[in-house]
């Protein structure tokens, strides 16, 4: 265990707890900078991971810190993506201006959803955001002059200050820069009065209200902020996929974002990133396993004879190549996490860290959850 003695206010203001923590994050940054050089084959997947990280941070602010669960965040992603492409390509605005405008448009849409959300709670809000997302998706389908409709819309590579980012590596660095900027901003907002008000609303609306938190202002603010981040992520996402079509921004994508924050760990920015890593890289892992697994297992089972080996290889091949496998695996992971580790990857990480820092005095009961008989959410 390491205790930190605070001897000046400056220590409270710093982003990091102490210099060891800062050094670890610098090491992580160096690792991330070296990543596209070390594993050039997966650069595109890593860019997607960073974009998902931004999406995760966005939803984490709303669901993890303000307690407003949205099942419609794919719509904000779509709004950001289409707005950015419209401003940058159709109107020819500079890239920076365009992405800022996309964030603004998305934030406005978020505020629009946030306003009726003031009166709704829990499941009603979730369904309202879902309805909003489905309506927005239909708008993408029909508003052909802007979105290209069902035919879709090709997206060019970004050109920033006259520098064209044609290759995947430079795009990776762009995503990394924006993710770090988003994380830095969010971390500071969360420890400012705004963030504290959001957490207060999450924990108890009534208590927050009686402490003088204006629910209307802060809930709308949470929606707008979250949507703005999503808008930036959407602009990057547009470049990432290279071709926008309305059927990208479905309910399934929204569910995937929720899965991200839950599997990562609700209520922590680390969790958003862990979740993004999981969601972006598991499909890569599955597709790798698709190529390797059947042959490998077939070789293992061929000790029982050549026929058994080839039969197993064929069966496994059919199983892992099945298109329905991937959502099933995501579903299974979600179920297992909710049942056995509701705090997600980040909770597990905290436990492991504590286990080693307190070795051999770690007690399981430290993280025991209090069991309540029935916590009614019918009353608010």
């Amino acid at each position: 265990m390491r205790f930190i003695f605070k001897i000046s206010y400056r220590q409270d203001l710093g982003l990091f707890r102490d210099r060891f923590q800062r050094d670890w994050y610098i090491a992580l940054l160096l690792g991330l900078l070296a990543l596209p050089v070390l594993l050039p084959d997966y650069r595109v997947d890593f860019s997607l991971m960073l974009i998902y990280g931004l999406c995760g941070v966005s939803l984490m602010v709303l669901a993890g810190y303000t307690g407003l669960v949205s099942l419609g965040h794919a719509a904000f992603l779509g709004i950001g993506a289409y707005a950015h492409v419209y401003f940058a390509q159709d109107m020819g605005l500079p890239w920076i201006v365009s992405i800022a405008l996309a964030a603004l448009v998305s934030a406005a849409a978020g505020g629009l959803v946030g306003l009726p959300a003031l009166r709704m709670t829990g499941i009603y809000l979730t369904i309202a955001t879902l309805a909003f997302a489905l309506i927005v998706q239909e708008v993408f389908n029909r508003w052909e002059s802007v979105t290209g409709g069902l035919k879709g819309k090709a997206v060019e590579r970004p050109t920033i200050f006259g520098v064209s980012l044609q290759d995947d590596t430079s795009f990776y660095f762009l995503c990394l820069a924006l993710l770090i900027a988003g994380l830095w901003l969010t971390r500071n907002v969360l420890r400012a009065p705004t963030g504290r008000a959001w957490v207060a609303i999450r924990d108890s609306e009534i208590a927050a209200q009686s402490m003088g938190v204006n629910l209307a202002v802060y809930k709308t603010l949470a929606f707008s902020y979250s949507a703005a981040l999503m808008g930036v992520a959407g602009a990057l996402f547009a470049h990432q996929v290279g071709f926008l079509a309305p059927d990208i921004f479905t309910v399934l994508l929204s569910i995937q974002f929720l899965l991200m924050v839950v599997v990562g760990g609700l209520g922590s920015l680390h969790g958003a990133i862990f979740g993004a890593i999981f969601v972006a890289l598991v499909p890569v892992g599955i597709s790798e396993a698709r190529d390797v697994m059947p042959e490998w297992l077939g070789r293992v089972f061929s000790v029982f004879g050549q026929d058994a080996g080839s039969a197993v290889a064929a069966a496994v091949d059919g199983f892992v190549k099945h298109p329905g496998l991937e959502p099933g695996i995501f579903g299974l992971v979600l179920v297992l996490f909710i049942l056995f580790e509701p705090q997600g990857f980040y909770g597990r990480w905290i436990k492991i860290k504590l286990y080693f820092s307190q070795f051999p005095l770690y007690k399981r009961a430290t993280f025991k959850r209090q069991k309540s008989y029935m916590r009614s959410e019918r009353l608010r």
């Binding site: 709704m120 569910i255 329905g324 099933g328 579903g331 179920v335 909710i338 069991k371 009614s376």
Partner: protein, 291 residues
């Protein structure tokens, strides 16, 4: 003109009945356990597939297959409660939502592996039959949905008000602790409610199967049914049926009379408007927590 309106009315009612039945499943579970079951639509899909499997692959006839699939899905629902869902009671609502979303994804994945991703049509005794009533051709498939819903609702109503078990279920829904003190086996009752709710979903699936087609995405009807349940006020059984009928009618009429593209969206627009004006839905009640 009148004929078209009547035709739309009939079809809208039939589609609405399906939404209403699935919404009924949501509401039964929510009233009892406060869990929101997002996998309801996927249970419906499983019901339709099971019935198809028994009718076509094993050839045991429509009615036995119907009964068998409802029984199997009902048992499956009870098992779900016993093994998985019971663990999240008392945790925040959100946990159950995510859990059932995950389960739904697993069911879809299972269905596509077990039955393939082809699209099936379920042959029934009333397929492709029509009768002409007052100048309107009434398809027996739609009629069967409406009749099935009415019968099912009557049976459920009788069960909940006139049998000892049904009253015990109502009691357990209203106050777990008090019901437990009165000697009601609350856990068993909850499993039974899950069984009933899953059975209702399976019935909805089998009734819908001849009209729609069976594929693994059938469960996404659950989203519309969800809108129906929220529209009616989550936690109100008549509200769920009314919400379902409203959404069914809106969908059919907006598909016919509004410009293209409104068919799928109109229901959600109405839902948003209702929620803005009455956040607790049409029939819902909302209490304020005492501090």
């Amino acid at each position: 003109m009148l004929g078209t309106v009547l035709q739309l009315l009939l079809n809208g009612l039939a589609v609405g009945c399906i939404y209403g039945l699935v919404a009924l499943g949501f509401v039964l579970i929510y009233k009892a356990t406060e869990l929101v079951n997002f996998a309801q639509g996927d249970l419906m899909m499983l019901g339709a597939f099971t019935c198809y499997m028994f009718t076509v692959w094993y050839g045991i006839g429509y009615w036995p297959a119907f009964a068998l699939s409802v029984a199997i899905i009902g048992l499956f629902g009870a098992a779900l409660d016993r093994i998985i869902l019971r663990r999240v009671i008392g945790q925040p609502q959100f946990a159950a939502v995510m859990l059932t979303i995950g389960l739904g994804a697993m069911f879809r994945s299972f269905a596509s592996m077990a039955w393939g991703s082809e699209i099936y049509t379920l042959p029934t005794p009333f397929s492709a039959q029509q009768s002409l009533v007052a100048g309107v051709s009434v398809s027996h498939e739609y009629l069967s949905i409406i009749a099935g819903t009415v019968i099912l609702c009557a049976v459920l109503y009788a069960f909940f008000t006139h049998t000892k078990l049904g009253v015990a279920m109502q009691a357990a829904s209203q106050n777990q602790l008090a019901a437990y003190y009165m000697g009601i086996p609350v856990k068993l009752v909850f499993s039974l409610i899950w069984a009933i709710s899953a059975g209702v979903a399976a019935i909805a699936g089998v009734l819908l199967a001849p009209v729609s087609l069976i594929d693994t995405n059938l469960g996404f009807i659950g989203l519309k049914a969800f809108a129906a349940a929220v529209l009616g006020g989550f936690g109100s059984i008549p509200g769920a049926l009314a919400g379902g009928l409203t959404i069914g009618l809106i969908e059919l009429f907006s598909g016919a009379y509004l410009p293209e593209g409104f068919k799928d969206v109109a229901a959600y627009v109405v839902l948003l408007i209702v929620l803005v004006l009455r956040p607790q839905g049409m029939f819902g009640t909302v209490g304020r927590k005492r501090v």
